[in-house]
């Protein structure tokens, strides 16, 4: 008993200690800030002096932080061969990339000079850890949707280094068997065809008498419905086609309105949830699936129609794929408004706290140039960001690769920016809110309208806390 008392006392003491220290914290923080400020000023001065000697000076080593992936070593190797100065590539796991960049900037460590992320550019720009960038010489050549991804108002916060978008994957053999000659043109058709192609062990389809939802052999479609980022990235393809938006920003008056609980968005969520719960065209496991489960199901031949990024094409044409020669790709179907498609891609931004900005900018110019971005996208298995480069690639390609690239181009021309990226400092957190919202709606515990209402509330709280536009 005595030990418990002492223990509670220790807790209490630590509480009071903390509370008293709370007062001192402020002063220390401001003192730290001023110290840092003078440090940066001093650094700027020395930098100015340095520029005079620019010609003789060897560029300093810059650090390039990016998401770890299996092809990064190859990218690094080719960059080294093509670039004349030294650099470091630091690779981090996807879930840690954005927080760690913020931590690096916030703590004043400033180890990273260039941030290479999927969609972080505006987030960094608006939260004040990345610099505004000038227009590249051939800026207009880059896909418009991709440019929009990294622009806030008229400010550019990142240079795209690769483009990416979703394709409609469909099984030609299953379509034929179900009596269809062409892939779906609208999302309503898509559902209709998916229902026809969802087949249980007895050959019955959803809605048939005696259809067994627990023993389905072929699923009409699939969805990355887990509580992961892939969920939101897939959902926005459908939502954009229906004209859904997350928000309306009035740049002049610096006001915004969250529109995620309005009809287009709610209808889209209802469509997805019904596909899962009512029509059974998605597997049961869709509620926990991420990229890996999703593409494995398709490559294993268990899914007839799927919406996914172009990377799945390369897996599906591989020798040990069960759907090789049995599938094709096409344009994403049309929603109530248009053939929407979310613009993926990859971007580089310049760290505000970078200790050698000129060298960093020089390296960035190389990476974002036609040559650099071609190396980047080729080694990473994605698509080049410039339209003229893309056309060249199509001309050079043949066979299934040509088909893939042509369909990618068609979708890229429709593709538009996923407007969560415009939420600045709150971007990453807003994606997490959407993941959880869609995932919760899929459980059927809340209606799509309730789910979106709650998402709106959470987004508003988040933006309020992050002082969006203020």
């Amino acid at each position: 008993m005595k030990s418990i008392k002492v223990f509670c006392l220790a807790l209490a003491v630590s509480f009071t200690l903390g509370a008293t220290l709370a007062g001192c914290g402020d002063k220390a923080a401001t003192a730290g800030n001023t110290a840092e400020k003078s440090k940066t000023e001093a650094a700027a001065e020395t930098k100015a002096a340095d520029t005079k000697k620019e010609e003789e000076r060897k560029p300093e080593k810059v650090t390039f932080v990016t998401q770890a992936n299996d092809q990064m070593t190859e990218t690094e190797k080719q960059f080294r061969a093509a670039y004349d100065a030294d650099f470091d590539i630091v690779a981090l796991p996807a879930s840690e990339l954005l927080p760690k960049i913020q931590l690096d900037a916030m703590s004043g460590t400033n180890d990273y000079d260039i941030y290479s992320t999927g969609q972080g550019a505006i987030q960094f720009g608006l939260s004040g850890i990345a610099d505004e960038l000038p227009k590249l010489d051939d800026w207009e050549d880059i896909f418009p949707g991709l440019r929009a991804n990294y622009q806030f108002g008229d400010k550019i916060y990142g240079w795209p280094v690769q483009a990416d978008t979703c394709l409609l994957f469909y099984r030609t053999d299953l379509l034929e068997k179900a009596g269809y000659k062409e892939p779906p043109k609208t999302w309503d058709e898509y559902r209709e065809m998916a229902i026809k192609m969802t087949t249980d062990v007895n050959g019955k389809h959803p809605g048939d008498n005696g259809f067994n939802a627990n023993k389905i052999e072929i699923y009409g479609s699939n969805y990355k419905g887990g509580n992961f980022d892939s969920n939101t990235w897939e959902f926005y393809n459908y939502m954009l086609a229906n004209g859904g938006k997350t928000h309306d920003i009035d740049f002049e008056n610096k006001t915004y309105k969250i529109t995620i609980n309005e009809k287009p968005a709610v209808d889209t969520l209802t469509w997805v949830v019904d596909n899962y719960r009512k029509y059974n065209i998605y597997p049961k496991g869709a509620i926990n699936s991420d990229w890996a489960e999703f593409h494995t199901m398709f490559v294993e031949g268990k899914v007839a129609l799927a919406v996914n990024y172009a990377y799945m094409f390369d897996m599906a044409v591989a020798d040990n794929s069960k759907v090789k020669d049995k599938f094709s790709v096409g344009l994403l179907p049309k929603g109530t408004v248009k053939n929407g498609a979310g613009m993926g891609g990859w971007v580089i931004s310049l760290a505000k706290g970078s200790k050698h900005k000129e060298d960093a900018l020089r390296f960035m110019k190389f990476v974002a140039s036609s040559k650099g971005s071609t190396i980047y996208s080729d080694t990473q298995g994605a698509m080049v960001p410039r339209q003229s480069d893309f056309q060249k690639k199509i001309d050079a390609a043949e066979g299934p690769m040509k088909l893939k690239l042509q369909q990618c181009l068609a979708n890229l021309q429709n593709a538009e920016s996923i407007d969560l990226t415009k939420l600045g400092a709150s971007y990453d957190a807003s994606v997490k809110i959407m993941n959880a919202t869609i995932n919760t709606a899929l459980t059927g515990k809340v209606s799509p309208q309730e789910a979106m209402d709650s998402a709106k509330k959470q987004l508003e709280e988040l933006l309020e806390k992050d002082k969006f536009l203020k």
Partner: protein, 276 residues
């Protein structure tokens, strides 16, 4: 004859229990090994691999230079374990045999440190380390691992030391042995099983540590194996094929160590019989 047969029956039951549990442990591991032999497209499927290849191991070993990370992990874990053992044995000796006013409270305070969720302290910890300039150093990794695990080490040793017979200590003191000498010559040798267990736990837990190392390092030259494994991802989902290969390589040294030093470890564990 009768008791012997009874013993045999008992043993059969024991063996059955242990075998069932061992199967529960081994099946997923066999699955892991099988997966490491498949290629990316098939890595998540239940089908048998269409061809068995060591490609994953080759690329993990050569392209990713996994040996470097092995060295880093080993370096960090060995030093962490050694420091923890010294500190925790001393502390547990003091906490159990030479209590002072408030020593119980201090002991419990140790545990409070173990209760903090990692995320809460990592940001101030990072800021602190950055100010002292310890980011990207092995020292920061070791000292961090020591601090995270020290409370557990002390808490594991305390019950064993508490049960250590005081008569033995008294006898030693009467013989004129100093307190520290008694610890070295009597307490430590007789508590070998407990210390062994703590050493194993501490080694494993610093060998498995991930988040802290990830946040405190940016240079690959000092990153441990866990961080390297987590980097084996693709842009669209993890590279399970490579990851399993790395995981197989990751457990191999530890299993080898266990087999080679089986006598010492098991001997250490069974050298008990302290209680008089």
């Amino acid at each position: 004859m009768k008791p012997k047969r009874k013993l045999k029956e008992k043993n059969i039951l024991s063996y059955t229990c242990l075998c069932i549990y061992a199967a529960f442990i081994i099946l997923p591991i066999l699955w892991l090994i099988l997966t490491s032999l498949k290629d990316r497209t098939e890595s998540y499927t239940i089908a048998r691999p269409s061809r068995i290849s060591l490609d994953n191991f080759v690329s993990v070993l050569w392209e990713y230079d996994i040996a470097k990370y092995f060295y880093n992990s080993g370096f960090i874990s060995v030093f962490t374990t050694a420091i923890i053992l010294i500190l925790s044995v001393l502390a547990a000796y003091g906490f159990t045999k030479f209590r002072y006013g408030g020593s119980e409270g201090v002991l419990n305070f140790c545990l409070v440190l173990r209760m903090i969720p990692f995320v809460t302290i990592i940001i101030p910890l990072y800021i602190m380390m950055a100010k002292i300039g310890l980011i990207n150093t092995r020292f920061a990794l070791i000292i961090g691992n020591v601090s995270f695990n020290l409370p557990v080490a002390i808490w594991l040793l305390v019950p064993f030391f508490k049960d250590f017979p005081n008569e033995l200590l008294e006898a030693a003191f009467i013989d004129g042995s100093s307190k520290l000498k008694t610890l070295m010559n009597i307490v430590i040798p007789l508590s070998r099983p407990a210390i062994m267990v703590v050493a194993i736990f501490m080694f494993i837990s610093s060998w498995n540590e991930f988040m802290y190392a990830l946040i405190m390092t940016t240079k690959q030259d000092i990153q441990p194996l866990t961080v390297a494994i987590s980097n084996l991802t693709g842009k669209y989902g993890v590279r399970f094929d490579l990851m399993t290969a790395a995981a197989v390589l990751y457990v191999v040294p530890v299993i080898t160590l266990t087999v080679v030093f089986q006598k010492q470890i098991i001997g250490g564990l069974t050298a008990g019989a302290v209680k008089g």
